[in-house]
């Protein structure tokens, strides 16, 4: 029923949007591989060969080694805390009944739409009071708290959907709620958990505002913050700036390409739908 013209048109439009999606990305990659003296902002591959050295230069001159280490550390901590706390809380919300559970759950859901901008100001003064600004904890704790909204919401959906019969079978076998969770439900829920892990990983890795506010010394800068400062100082060095941007985006893009289904599934669930 679908004519050949229509089919061609379909692919033409898909191709057009693919080009639109990729143009800025390819632009920055080609700039990153261009000559440092060139003022060209990309889209023409350099005629004097690819300058892979730009990445090394950006790495050393932009101190991206330090920033990457900070980002890895903060991201690992946020993912670990969010995962454990979310699984515990969502388990209770999903399979147990106790007074106030619905109200408490909505309290967490609220966090999905609460903008950081409404928290960041008092958070800064609180954490400064506790001498936690310019520390890793000052980056980890607020981001973990914000990720919990998604984590609890997402994992509760899993626990709600996990078969009641499995839980009852475990109970009959003599498992208490703790062993049921860790021996049965968590191993069964690896797909749901890995979706949460990749989403929280991406959010934390890309987080900018919280890092900008909480960190003023260079030793604790994360990569997005490093890139912003690098842009401020070396705005004319387009090749190095682009190389740094590519370095920052790469870890998330690699994980995304490998696990795109999980990314898309997790990110589209962000709106409260049940």
């Amino acid at each position: 029923m679908i004519s050949r013209t229509e089919r061609t048109l379909t692919y033409a439009i898909l191709a057009l949007f693919t080009v639109v999606s990729l143009t800025p990305v390819l632009g920055i990659v080609s700039t990153a591989l261009g000559s440092q003296s060139s003022l060209n902002t990309g889209f023409s591959l350099p005629d004097d060969g690819l300058h892979w050295g730009n990445f090394a230069d950006a790495w050393s001159r932009g101190h991206f080694g330090t920033y990457l280490r900070n980002s890895v550390l903060v991201t690992l901590a946020v993912v670990a805390i969010t995962t454990v706390f979310s699984v515990l809380a969502a388990y209770a919300f999903g399979v147990m009944r106790f007074p106030g559970s619905t109200a408490l759950f909505y309290l967490f859901v609220l966090g999905l739409a609460l903008p950081q901008e409404a928290l960041v100001v008092p958070l800064y003064f609180d954490l400064r009071q506790l001498e936690l600004t310019d520390t890793y904890w000052g980056l980890i704790l607020p981001q973990a708290a914000q990720s919990l909204a998604f984590g609890v919401f997402w994992m509760r959906t899993y626990f709600r959907g996990s078969a009641q019969s499995v839980i009852e079978a475990a109970r009959i076998d003599g498992a208490n709620s703790w062993t049921t969770l860790w021996r049965v439900l968590v191993p069964m829920g690896r797909p749901a958990i890995s979706t949460m892990v990749v989403i929280v990983f991406m959010w934390t890795w890309n987080e900018f505002l919280m890092a900008l506010v909480m960190v003023s010394d260079e030793a604790h800068r994360t990569v997005p913050l490093g890139l912003a400062f690098f842009q401020g100082q070396h705005s004319s060095e387009t090749a190095l700036l682009a190389a740094a941007a590519v370095l920052i985006a790469l870890p998330v893009v690699i994980v995304y390409v490998a696990l795109q289904r999980r990314f898309i599934e997790g990110m589209l669930s962000g709106a409260v739908k049940e």
């Binding site: 029923m1 229509e6 379909t10 439009i13 898909l14 949007f17 693919t18 639109v20 999606s21 800025p24 632009g27 920055i28 003022l39 902002t41 990309g42 515990l88 809380a89 209770a92 919300f93 147990m96 106790f98 859901v109 966090g111 739409a113 950081q116 901008e117 409404a118 100001v121 008092p122 958070l123 800064y124 607020p142 973990a144 914000q146 919990l148 609890v152 009959i172 709620s177 900018f208 505002l209 900008l212 990569v223 997005p224 890139l227 912003a228 842009q231 682009a242 920052i248 998330v252 390409v257 795109q260 990314f263 898309i264 990110m267 589209l268 962000g270 709106a271 409260v272 739908k273 049940e274």
Partner: protein, 356 residues
């Protein structure tokens, strides 16, 4: 959300479910341990007995039975405790503080003075504060409306025929969503720069007059930043709608075609109603993202030139940490929260046609 709200109402039907489980549970164990059999019988007798009780008593007893055997119900609180403590201390508590700060005049250092509703009144009267909110609402056209419209048109087109290599297209179209907005900002600055790709292209096709420093132009900076938002959001909407469109039963399309509907009628009669809930999700996600839009503004324009691209999210940072108007910054943050909640709830209600 809906399911939960309805839960108490559906309680009257619950007893049947609870009784069935009480019978089936022990019944399953009977073969393995003989001692349990008498308990099962006792339980069956009890359930039979209950049917004569008053509904309130019955509900209470049923709630008791639904609990795990031998499990104190307080254990639920223990599981929630770590998450709630962290969430309460670093999210709920600061939000409360924001509300409190918004009622004060405070420069972040010296003693604060009571401001009452001053900071909020300023949001409506001070042109420097009205502008960011006006910009944010205009940007929502680019961040939310355009992506949804483009996404719908594409979904309508693509859902008519099976597409090969959909995984590839989906991966590419969704890519802008996973890039750090800082990286997106750097990439687009290069495109919108005076000698960037956009101007080069315009000059190449002879439109020299149209070339301009997009991000430095008082009239064009805001739409230019908006286009970046459209680029980020469109893929998300497309992927969402394509997935939704695949779930619309084929028979509906066939029926529409038999009735002689063309592609346009088909879109309005079948695709659009079928995507209602996806549209609501897309609106919610893009509106929240559009109003939280700090990173992109900070990297591309820092609110400039003048304050022509200033948005509330940027203004919070600017006032709290650059010009020491902490009370005002907090009020903007709270107002932004209210705006997000009102817009998302209203729009998704409208789209889904729900009445409250």
């Amino acid at each position: 959300m809906k399911g939960d709200a309805r839960r108490p109402a559906s309680n009257p039907q619950r007893p049947a479910d609870g009784q069935a489980r009480a019978v089936v549970g022990p019944g399953k164990t009977a073969p393995t341990s003989g001692e349990l059999a008498p308990r099962a019988m006792r339980q069956m007798a009890r359930t039979a007995h209950h049917t004569g009780r008053r509904p309130a008593t019955q509900r209470l007893l049923n709630r008791y039975r639904r609990r795990a055997p031998g499990e104190p119900r307080a254990i639920g609180y223990l599981y929630i405790l770590p998450a709630l403590a962290l969430y309460g201390a670093l999210l709920l508590f600061p939000f409360g503080q924001s509300v409190w700060l918004s009622l004060l005049h405070w420069d972040g250092m010296s003693a604060a003075t009571w401001a009452g509703s001053d900071n909020y009144r300023d949001l409506f009267t001070d042109p420097d504060l009205r502008a960011p909110f006006a910009h944010a609402l205009l940007l929502l056209v680019f961040y939310s409306a355009l992506p949804v419209v483009i996404g719908l048109l594409l979904a309508a087109l693509l859902s008519r025929a099976p597409v090969r290599g959909m995984t590839f297209f989906r991966t590419v179209l969704f890519l802008p969503q996973v890039l750090a907005l800082v990286v997106v900002g750097v990439a687009w600055r290069a495109i919108l720069a005076p000698d960037g790709l956009l101007n080069d292209t315009l000059r190449a096709v002879g439109l020299d007059a149209a070339a301009r420093p997009w991000l430095g132009d008082y009239d064009w900076a805001l739409p230019a930043v908006g286009v970046v938002g459209t680029w980020v959001g469109t893929g998300l909407c497309m992927v969402l709608f394509l997935a939704g469109a695949q779930r619309i039963p084929r028979e509906l399309y066939e029926a529409a075609r038999l009735d002689g509907a063309g592609p346009v009628r088909e879109f309005f009669a079948v695709t659009l109603p079928g995507l209602r809930s996806q549209i609501a999700v897309a609106l919610t996600l893009t509106i929240v993202a559009g109003l939280r839009n700090f990173d992109l503004i900070y990297i591309t324009t820092s609110g400039g030139p003048g304050n022509s691209t200033s948005v509330p999210a940027y203004e919070v940072y600017h006032r709290a940490f650059e010009t020491n108007e902490v009370g005002s910054a907090a009020a903007i943050g709270v107002a932004l929260t209210v705006l997000i909640f009102v817009l998302t709830v209203t729009l998704s209600r409208l789209v889904e046609g729900r009445r409250t």
